[in-house]
């Protein structure tokens, strides 16, 4: 049966938003994979689930919103996957017997700095809303990295977050500075 034009336009708008939401959930699925790996190797299932759920909600929300948010979510997930994997791989293959505080600080901060630098370079290609991009992508990448750094405890998490913040901040400040 044919619906009234106004009712139908509302239904179409709902279909549009629902379609975007379903796609966003699917595209946010890597967050679940990272959470599962984190829960398996970091032995802190509760924290992994909490951070993973936050990451999934953030990524889904950003992709659903679209525009700069979706671009930031995709970039954040890509860079965040590296930030997640690098410390684990490095410690597993090279520093198996040298997992002291200094090494954890060094590797996690360096990974965070690298991730932030990559996001900064990506943001430089944007014509507008770079700060929003850096904020959202940095948040996603930090949460991904945090999932990996749970293995190293609070020091690992803090150094990763500090690394991302330190390397993205100059890009944000530079872009906001008047020409």
């Amino acid at each position: 049966m044919t619906a009234a034009p106004d009712d139908f336009a509302r239904r179409v708008r709902r279909a549009y938003e629902w379609g975007r939401f379903k796609r966003a959930v699917l595209q946010g699925a890597p967050a679940l994979l990272l959470t599962a790996i984190s829960a398996a190797i970091c032995q802190r299932a509760g924290w992994s689930a909490t951070i993973g759920a936050t990451l999934l909600v953030l990524v889904t929300g950003l992709i659903w919103y679209g525009r700069i948010g979706a671009r930031a979510a995709y970039a954040g997930l890509k860079v965040g996957a590296l930030a997640f994997a690098i410390p684990i791989v490095i410690f597993h293959w090279y520093f198996r017997d040298l997992c002291d505080l200094q090494t954890v600080l060094m590797v996690d901060t360096a990974t965070g700095l690298g991730a932030g630098l990559l996001l900064g370079l990506k943001s430089a290609r944007l014509e507008a809303r770079r700060t929003a991009f850096l904020l959202c992508a940095g948040g996603v990448a930090t949460l991904c990295g945090t999932l990996g750094c749970l293995f190293f405890g609070p020091v690992g998490v803090a150094s990763m977050a500090a690394g991302v913040l330190l390397s993205t901040a100059p890009f944000a400040v530079y872009h906001r500075a008047p020409a």
């Binding site: 044919t2 139908f8 239904r11 549009y16």
Partner: protein
């Protein structure tokens, strides 16, 4: 639709795919008359066209976030509309098929001359279809209907045999009576 309109539709669809909600109204206003005209053209029925255009519109907007900006928006939308119309036709054909089977199951139970004639016709039709089956299939169906002595096979094997016999019966019925 002229080239400029087509390009504008492409631009708006790409913007909508990117999450630009302001592009919703222009896309909606552009697509609606095109969809109704397109479906009316292929179905030859204006009332169906409006219903189908609504279905197609819902599908298009629910999938617009997957729209690839390098494709032609008009062709993309019309392909979805055409598929929606095809699904509708298939669904209708299936529904009509089910309707016919329901009608067949309702054999008149009274003793009017028409009811007796219908029953005789159906009995004769069933007999000729059964006669065309392999003896083993025929036996299986008769045993199942009359709850008679089952052949010396397991229950699962009998069920399988009955299923095969019924499939053959359906095919034979279709062959004789359409």
């Amino acid at each position: 639709m002229d080239d400029a309109g087509r390009m504008a539709l492409n631009r708006n669809l790409a913007a909508l795919a990117d999450g630009e909600r302001a592009a919703f109204d222009p896309v909606y206003r552009t697509l609606w008359p095109l969809l109704v005209r397109f479906i009316a053209g292929i179905s030859g029925d204006r009332a169906i066209a409006e219903d189908m255009a609504q279905q197609a519109m819902l599908k298009i907007f629910s999938r617009v976030s997957t729209f690839d900006a390098s494709r032609d928006g008009l062709s993309w939308s019309m392909t979805i509309a055409f598929n929606e119309y095809q699904s509708y036709r298939r669904r209708r054909a299936n529904a009509l098929g089910e309707l016919d089977e329901t009608a067949l199951a309702e054999v008149p139970d009274c003793d009017t001359p028409e009811a007796i004639a219908i029953r005789d016709d159906l009995r004769e039709a069933a007999r000729s279809v059964l006669a065309s089956l392999r003896p083993q299939d025929r036996e299986t169906i008769v045993v199942a209907i009359t709850d008679g002595q089952r052949p010396a096979v397991s229950a699962a094997a009998f069920r399988k045999r009955l299923q095969r016999a019924l499939t053959q019966t359906r095919l034979a019925w279709k062959r004789y009576y359409g």
